[in-house]
Amino acid sequence: MSEAPIVICEHCDAVYRRRPLALGQLARCSRCDGPLYRNRPIDLDVMLALAVAALIVLVIANVFPIVNLQVSNDDREATLWGAILATYDSGVGFVALLAALTVFFYPLLQLLLYLHVLLPLRFGMRGAGFNTSMHLLRAMQPWSMVEVFVLGVLVALVKLSSMAEVTPKLGMWGFALLTVLLTWLNSFDMHQLWDIAEERCSGRD
């Protein structure tokens, strides 16, 4: 395969010869209409900045309460971990585990892995365990569900507003911002990171 590079449609296995696209253009498969590749160069600095920012926002979102609930003179505040533990205590451990993994552990691990991969790459190195980290990132992506959790907070707010006074707190805005940052970060084409790693460092780990 030394001639012009070929592209395989991952949705239907049709084979194409890669040709240059204008900036921002997207090539689609003429057989199944699936996206083939786009010309959107990734920027390691932007990705790093997003990962660091998202990590800070993740801490804020988890430390501060998400919602405040007031009934007469009684106040209740819920953090993400408060919700997870309350669910666990009521005997539905599986639900607590799902929430803990999809809203806390996977997003956290995702961001740490991004930093672990991007930082050395930014300085022209291929970090230790690059392959493993990249494989883990790919496997975890569909299971990170911060955006669904934010919608869940909104639904809970409305459901509770009939019986008490509810106010969204800092943690809620934290999760909303985290959604934006993670969506942006995950929109980059990870295959290009493999290309960059191969170009800049010939050694393997």
Binding site: M1, P5, I6, V7, I8, E10, H11, C12, D13, A14, V15, Y16, G24, Q25, L26, A27, R28, C29, S30, R31, C32, D33, G34, L36, R38, V67, L69, V71, R76, A78, A83, I84, A86, T87, S90, G91, V92, F94, V95, A96, L98, A99, V103, N131, M134, R138, P142, W143, M145, V148, F149, L151, V153, V155, A156, V158, K159, M163, W194, E198
Partner: protein, 220 residues
């Protein structure tokens, strides 16, 4: 965003597109590298990233069917069993299923959220299970019916799948917030477990399905 349609590399005389499998090459799903891979070398590691290379996802039909049937069975308790119990002062305990939660939102006047929860919790799981059954049956028979739209359908399923987790988070949050001993409290019920399992199983099922099978000739 501007889009361009690429013409396939080669089209055989009969009008069928040449696939990577025909050419004895495979694209690495992990890193995108195109690698020469003959039929009997399925499972060999990618020279660039070490992930095993396959022309098609392994045992795609049987694995997808298994996960899908499990999801279909659990779908019944997920909708019939209550997902949470609300106790308020003076009132009897009230058990809510997914559907009654939607009705409650509608009656409270938040029709927009009621529609969102209805779509995410009731429509998406049913449509997803139904669409996957259609995809499995048509692909196993090598059907040529609406292949482009079936491909699009699969990409849609993959895209919306995880939004069904919505109700699981709502229950967890309500349980954490509404804990006023004598006044009122909310506790999750077993329906929430079944429902969470349905969402996870349908997500796993759609990931096991290989959309390339839509375009392949019927398996012998």
């Amino acid at each position: 965003m501007a889009a361009t349609k690429d013409a396939p590399l080669a089209t055989a005389v009969i009008g069928a597109t040449i696939t990577a499998q025909d050419l004895g090459v495979a694209g690495c799903t992990a890193c995108g590298q195109v690698v020469r891979l003959s039929e009997n070398c399925d499972g060999a590691p990618c020279p660039r990233c070490n992930a095993p290379l396959w022309h098609r996802k392994r045992y795609s039909f049987s694995r997808t069917w298994a996960l899908l049937i499990a999801a279909g069975i659990l779908y019944i308790p997920a909708n019939l069993l209550p997902i949470m119990r609300t106790r308020t002062l003076g009132g009897a305990a009230r058990d809510d299923t997914i559907l009654s939660g939607v009705v409650e939102l509608w009656q409270a006047g938040s029709w927009d959220l009621a529609v969102i929860v209805f779509v995410a919790s009731i429509l998406v799981p049913v449509v997803k299970i139904g669409m996957l059954v259609v995809l499995l049956v048509t692909s196993q028979r090598g059907s040529h019916w609406a292949r482009v739209n079936r491909s699009r359908m699969y990409r849609l399923i993959e895209f919306v799948g995880h939004w069904s987790m919505l109700d699981v988070f709502v229950v967890a949050l309500m349980a954490a917030l509404v804990r006023f001993q004598s006044l009122a409290d909310v506790t999750p019920r077993p329906g929430a477990v079944a429902f969470g399992a349905v969402v996870v199983l349908t997500m796993l099922a759609s990931r096991r399905f290989d959309p390339r099978l839509i375009w392949d000739p019927a398996p012998k």
